[in-house]
Amino acid sequence: MHILNGHTLDRRTVLRAGAAALSLPLLDAMIPSVCGQQSRDRAASLQPRRMVLIHRPLGTYHPHLVPSATGPNYETTRFLKPLEQHRGKFTLFSGMGHPGYPNDHGTEPAIFTGVPGLNVRDVHNSISLDQIAARHVAGQTRLPYLLLGATWSQSLSWTEKGVPIPHEGNPASLYRRMFVEGTPEEVRREMRRLRQGKSILDNLRGELKSLQSRLGPGDRERIEVLTASIRDAEQLLAQEQAWSTKPRPVPAMTEEEIGANPANWIAAQDKWLALMHAALQTDSTRVIVLACNEHNKDNVPDLELHHHDASHHGKDPNKVEQLCQYEDREFATCARFLDKLAGTTENGSSLLDTTQVLFTSNLGDASAHSSSNLPVLLAGGGFGHQGHVSYGTGIDKPLCNLYVRMLQQFGIEADRFGSSDGIVGEV
């Protein structure tokens, strides 16, 4: 972990040394014993930690993504070119994947959960990376997390019990929730909704109590899951209530910009990313998942095939080129997002440095429906970035090892996640 001004403290060392209970006042707990008063003062201005997970389906065309050399001084590739100005601020990993996943589009719901032994016909999921992070920073922002875009499967975000959490598909309504003050009538109605919401949950809890005696042990266990959900829902309502009286921040983008109809999917994706930037810049949330769905060729002059069709290219050169043109644009939108983050400063450091951005796909080579050697690009977040890290083309290094590293960077004491068998030490 990088503390301001280059004071680097290997947090894992601290963890190994047995420091316990490092939750939010993490630095308060850690710094006095390790670094002294001066660092403590600096730490007071420590930046928040943020996490952005971006998923796109349909894998990548590896020859245009993965550099031949490893380390920071690789020769750039066609897809990485737009990211060139951020060299040193991101790492491309090759040879990673979720071990044992079937070669199938259906692995999408587990991309951020990495649940071991996924059966795509019968998904038993568990908690996703974003939800662990969101729990860690609960209550600190207006919205606990944002799940955006449209997914092919139910969701990319899942609770511990394997319940999918829905994504939002309407940027304009989200904009209003974050940035637009309601009319007095709307505020009154909102307050009533929150009050009623709380009593409805109380009511439900009461019903469950009286029900329990009539049910068997298996059902009682299910009711416990529900009771936990009631608790979570109460917290969400409480968070909404706590923030409902605070004035909404003014972002760098206007309501007109968000409401405009995008000309094509590139513009639509840019819009999501601009909204994400606005959410981060105003500290409205610290955890965001964006699902980019398959694209169509509409209104993009040089594309003649749909994205899905092009991705199953079967080595047909024309199709390969079409696929690459889709990917050129996807990487370009990603680059524009990083540009925006890098160009925004907060207490002296850039938003990119406080935001870890993961850009990945559930397929490696979509033409083979292969779920190994996934495209994995991690940017920002204050990692010691390494350019290109390769784990070779043999058996995949568990992507969850990187997730563990990301959780630690987020300030969470984690040593395993999903199907991890260690931790990525390179960044």
């Binding site: 019990k161 319940v163 999918p164 959490i165 919401g197 959900s229 079967g314 033409s367």
Partner: protein, 826 residues
């Protein structure tokens, strides 16, 4: 005690195996295991990652079921190994099935078979629609449900997250607002003649968009070209969202004695159009007379944002028409214009249907008046205010002179519907108290009632199916039945049958099942069950590669229609389960007959058509819809198709693929076929084990291409050596590149060879009982929400036996499932 045994066992197993196994396993069985299983499946060998030696004698584990099945089906020991004597096999399977049954029973004594489960979002939407008489789309406000074995009704896939709980609150709010509009809402009937419609269009629409393509004949408007929904003949626009009935009187003009196809479309957004939601229906209108067509559909937006239009797709497109006849802007066509056309005498809109149901059920006969601000009195003439107009400022609000008594009375009758059983006095008191509390907090009576109903719709008694262990009572049976056949709540008649205790009798239950299947709402079962059992829901997920030039919107619409009509026919006529594999009939329209290369069928409506002997289009598994749905965009995958057949039709699903198996990488540049690539795959022993099981049905289907057409050779993107540029047999004039010949031969898992789909189908038909067993299991999964345990097998076998005399007809199977203890006990 149990713990001691398993601890001991664990200590034991790695030191003293094989003989010192758990005392829970009889010595004789241990001996058979040791002689026939352990050399491949002990701790050190672990073939296929499985160690029998390490398997604890806890018979709730699925692994023991697999051990039983593998041995019972003769798959283990595998071919080439020493076979145990039949008596020995029986010894193992008898003992194991006893253990497995008692293990399941023990688990169920306290919990019952079906875990406590909530509605899924599909059921939530339809239930609220039926309860409140609304048509508001609600399911998208709720998180998606997990599909288990393809179904959205299984308890295991229906956990509840915090976002569910908050979404239910939001959805209930929306539903109540929709059901209790703050302006007077009444069902209306609007009708205009073709002439009136035309004269109401703006001049700017008429001059270039409509007039050059139409003429009037008295009050009748005749279109001679198709002009697109906006400019075409529309039904009156809905005044508010809701469910509507639309009628139109239409007739073909100058079309000889041929019928004319009329398309009834609905304006939707682009995404919905991709899912073909813009198609409401097609009608083939006979020549020479006027026909009244009628559709019933949900219109979700008012103010012209969603409306119904009619057009005859057979007429020339307006641009072509203009080229041919010259378009004289602003002038209608002459009265004696002789080209074919579609005449509309009148069009009518009726609805919203059931618009008063919500008000009736929630507010009864209470007075509703506009709420005026302090100091202003209610004008006498408010009943003639335009809608919604003034009502947006002065919302219609329920009044009560006896709020406590009214609230209790209304809540009581609503609870019975919402909770699907008569409420207890305690429940009535509790929910009435919620309303009272809101009034005490200063809310108006109207607001307090809304709050009270919201609490009911967020109660566990509404959202969950609460069934105590043991035999279900009549109300719980009614709830299950309504859920199965209507995806909804019981109607008054079903409630009444439950009141009378009829659902606990076989005849009463059967009578209600029959009645409900005859109701329009049973279409929901047909739709959902085909969507989920066959995965027809996934039909449009993948757009075929551009080399399939014949794939068009009409085909995409027709293909799944065939399968749904086919299933409906099986259900209505109680047709044998073997129909799934082979029939001498199917449902066709013009487009499908062309696609399949069958004798011409006229029109767009699908109709039951006999097939010639030897036709390769009989049976559901060779429907184009299924064949298309089980492929990739550019090539057919025998693996996908084979797995689909084994899972959904035969009911013997493959094990999931082992980890880290390399993917098949298609190469469409040359002529190397997917089958050749799969052969390489099957040469790897670990892959072969399952692919031997999955691939054969897929190979048998290789003669069907990506869009379900028959093929003798594989289609490729471009020319080359050995590749011909040839005409498509069923599409004269369309040419494509054809490469290697298709080989549809193979050998089933148990060594039966076949050369093509016909032979494969006869192999499938040899075991009709397995087809019936599978379909019964799928119905049980869907209907009861619980997985089939070992102990359920006996009941499934009973269902199979009981329906044998009906050749396991679909309707008989459904009745047998409903009458079985699996359905009638928790």
């Amino acid at each position: 005690m149990k713990r001691t045994i398993s601890l001991l066992f664990m200590l034991w197993s790695h030191v003293a195996w094989p003989i010192a196994f758990s005392a829970d396993i009889p010595v004789s069985v241990r001996k058979i295991f040791a002689a026939h299983c352990l050399h491949c499946h002990d701790e050190s060998t672990q073939q296929a990652g499985f160690s029998l030696a390490a398997l604890k004698p806890d018979f709730r584990q699925l692994a023991w079921v697999r051990v039983h099945d593998r041995i019972a089906r003769g798959q283990m020991p595998p071919a080439g190994e020493d076979r145990p004597a039949p008596a020995e096999i029986r010894q193992v399977t008898d003992w194991l099935s006893q253990e497995l049954v008692s293990a399941t029973r023990a688990g169920r004594a306290e919990d019952g078979r079906t875990p406590w489960r909530r509605m899924n979002r599909r059921e939530y939407e339809t239930t609220l629609h039926d309860l409140l008489g609304i048509a508001l789309p609600l399911r998208d406000m709720l998180p998606e449900d997990n599909l288990i074995h393809g179904f959205d009704t299984l308890a295991r896939g229906l956990e509840t997250s915090s976002s569910h709980l908050l979404s239910y609150q939001r959805a209930a709010d929306r539903a109540i607002v929709e059901a209790l509009p703050t302006f007077p809402a009444a069902s209306i009937t609007k009708r205009y003649t073709g002439k009136e419609y035309l004269e109401n269009r703006l001049p700017v629409h008429r001059t270039t968009g409509i007039d050059p393509f139409v003429r009037l004949d008295g009050d009748t408007l005749i279109y001679h070209a198709t002009v697109g929904g906006d400019m075409g003949m529309q039904a009156p626009h809905p005044p508010m969202p809701g469910r509507y009935r639309i009628r139109a009187a239409v007739r073909p003009v100058n079309n000889g004695d041929r019928p004319m196809t009329v398309f009834v479309g609905k304006r939707v957004d682009r995404f919905q159009a991709e899912k073909h939601l813009h198609i409401v229906d097609y009608f083939d209108i006979p020549a020479g007379r006027t026909s009244v067509i009628e559709v019933e559909t949900d219109l979700k937006y008012s103010q012209g944002n969603q409306f119904i239009f009619f057009e005859a797709p057979g007429l020339p497109w307006k641009d072509d028409f203009a080229k041919q006849h010259g378009a004289d802007g602003a002038k209608s066509l002459p009265a004696d214009f002789a080209a074919p056309g579609l005449a509309t005498e009148w069009a009518e809109l009726e609805g919203p249907l059931d618009v008063e149901l919500g008000v009736q059920r929630m507010l009864g006969d209470l007075l509703r008046e506009p709420r005026m601000p302090e100091g202003r009195s209610l004008p006498e003439n408010w009943r003639s205010w335009p809608v919604p107009g003034e009502f947006t400022k002065y919302p219609l609000t329920a009044r009560s002179n006896a709020p406590t008594a009214d609230a209790e009375r209304l809540i009581r009758s609503f609870l019975r519907l919402a909770f699907r059983r008569p409420p207890t006095e305690q429940q009535v008191a509790h929910h009435a108290a919620i309303v009272k509390e809101l009034i005490d907090q200063g809310e108006t009576f109207d607001e307090a009632m809304r709050g009270g109903y919201k609490a009911i719709l967020c109660s566990s008694n509404f959202l969950y199916y609460i069934e105590p262990p043991g035999k279900l009572d009549d109300y719980a049976i009614a709830a299950r039945l309504a859920r199965l056949l209507w995806s909804s709540m019981p109607d008054e008649e079903l409630f009444a049958a439950a009141d009378r205790g009829e659902l606990s009798t076989a005849n009463g239950l059967r009578a209600q099942t029959e009645r409900m299947l005859g109701d329009r709402k049973a279409e929901r079962f047909i739709r959902t069950f085909t969507d989920q059992w066959l995965n027809l829901a996934g039909f449009l997920d993948m757009a075929p590669d551009g080399i399939y030039v014949e794939y068009d919107a009409m085909l995409a619409w027709s293909l799944p229609q065939e399968t749904r009509a086919f299933f409906r026919e099986m259900l209505e006529k109680d047709l044998p389960v073997a129909s799934v594999v082979q029939t001498d009939w199917t449902f066709l329209n013009e487009r499908l007959a062309q696609h399949y290369g069958l004798p011409p069928v006229q029109g767009t409506q699908l109709r039951r058509t006999s097939l010639a002997a030897g036709s390769r289009r009989g049976g559901l598994i060779t429907h184009g819809s299924i064949l298309k749905m089980t492929t990739n965009a550019s090539y057919t995958s025998p693996v996908k198709r084979g797995a689909w057949i084994m899972e959904r039709i035969v009911g013997l699903p493959p094990d999931p693929p082992p980890p880290d198996v390399a993917a098949v990488e298609p190469d469409i540049r040359g002529a190397s076929t997917i089958r050749e690539q799969l052969d390489q795959h099957r040469n790897v022993a670990v892959c072969a084990q399952c692919h031997r099981h999955i691939d054969p049905p897929g190979f048998a289907l290789e003669n069907y291409d990506v869009v379900g057409g028959w093929r003798e050779r594989y289609r490729v993107r471009q020319g080359g050596e050995g590749i011909d540029y040839a005409e498509l047999v069923n599409y004269p004039g369309r040419r494509v590149y054809l490469a290697k010949a298709v080989d549809a031969s193979g050998e089933t898992d148990n060594g039966k060879a076949f050369t093509d789909i016909d032979e494969f189908k006869s192999l499938l038909l040899r075991d009709e009982e397995q087809l019936a067993r599978n379909l019964a299991e799928k119905l049980v999964l869907y209907a009861t929400g619980a997985e089939i345990d070992f102990a359920d097998r006996a009941v499934i076998e009973q269902i199979v036996r009981d329906t044998k005399s009906q050749k396991h007809g679909l309707r008989s199977l459904l009745h047998a499932v409903v009458q079985s203890p699996l359905f009638l006990e928790k």
